[in-house]
């Protein structure tokens, strides 16, 4: 099993450009999450999904959109990138959404917006 994979690993964008980050999991998990990690701020939840075809906002959703067309994939889109979106983005998944479940993380995508 590959677990949770993310593409791309690195990306540099100019302000105003768009891009999509792809997260894939092969554990048949129902729940998937997108976080951003910034120095001194820990991980903050951007959006999450409780199943195929559903999405919900997290703590910091502005400037991002998501889609979960297939159970194994969760896409994060930036329509018009801003320097404030420079960050490391992590995807995670869990089998169920109850608070007791372990989340499994991907290796991250490092994004620099100039």
């Amino acid at each position: 099993n590959a677990g949770v994979t993310q593409t791309p690993k690195f990306r540099v964008l100019k302000t105003g450009q768009s891009m999509t980050l792809l997260c894939a999991q092969d554990m048949n998990h129902e729940y998937m999450y997108w976080y951003r990690q910034d120095p001194g701020m820990g991980l903050r939840l951007i959006h999450y999904s409780v199943g195929e075809g559903t999405t919900a906002k997290g703590e910091v959703p502005d400037g991002y959109n998501v889609s979960r067309l297939k159970k194994q994939n969760f896409l994060l889109g930036l329509e018009s990138a801003a320097p404030s979106q420079t960050s490391v983005y992590f995807c995670a998944s869990s089998s169920l959404g109850r608070g007791r479940e372990t989340q499994y993380f991907g290796p991250g995508t490092r994004l620099l917006v100039l």
Partner: protein, 114 residues
């Protein structure tokens, strides 16, 4: 809403010395508590978690944590650290009913001095 405080952003420790990383939480309801570890340039992985029962929880790589409800703490300990323990450690909390979301602390960077 729940919150997590990790007071120490950086902790330097000599190799083979003991270490304690502090975590305090606040919540008006019962919680689940987690410690995740992030090795350099990797995603997060679960170290240990407290769900219920014994307040002393043992995790991977010789780490353990103790849940103290009266002090709302979940401190992480290891009796003898190794160079390979160099990483960032995140405490996280979720609520005890139907809540999909983890709230993370800001992280503690553990540096092992040879």
């Amino acid at each position: 809403a729940q919150s997590v405080t990790q007071l120490d952003s950086q902790v330097p420790v000599f190799e083979e010395a003991p270490v304690e990383l502090r975590c305090n939480y606040s919540s008006s309801v019962s919680v689940y508590l987690f410690w995740y570890v992030q090795y350099p340039n990797q995603g997060l992985q679960l170290l240990l978690k407290y769900l219920s029962g014994s307040t002393l929880v043992k995790g991977i790589n010789g780490f353990e944590a103790e849940f103290n409800k009266s002090q709302t703490s979940f401190h992480l300990r290891k009796p003898s650290v190794h160079i390979s323990d160099t990483a960032e450690y995140f405490c996280a909390v979720s609520m005890d009913f139907g809540n999909e979301k983890l709230t993370f602390g800001t992280g503690t960077r553990l540096t092992i001095i040879p």
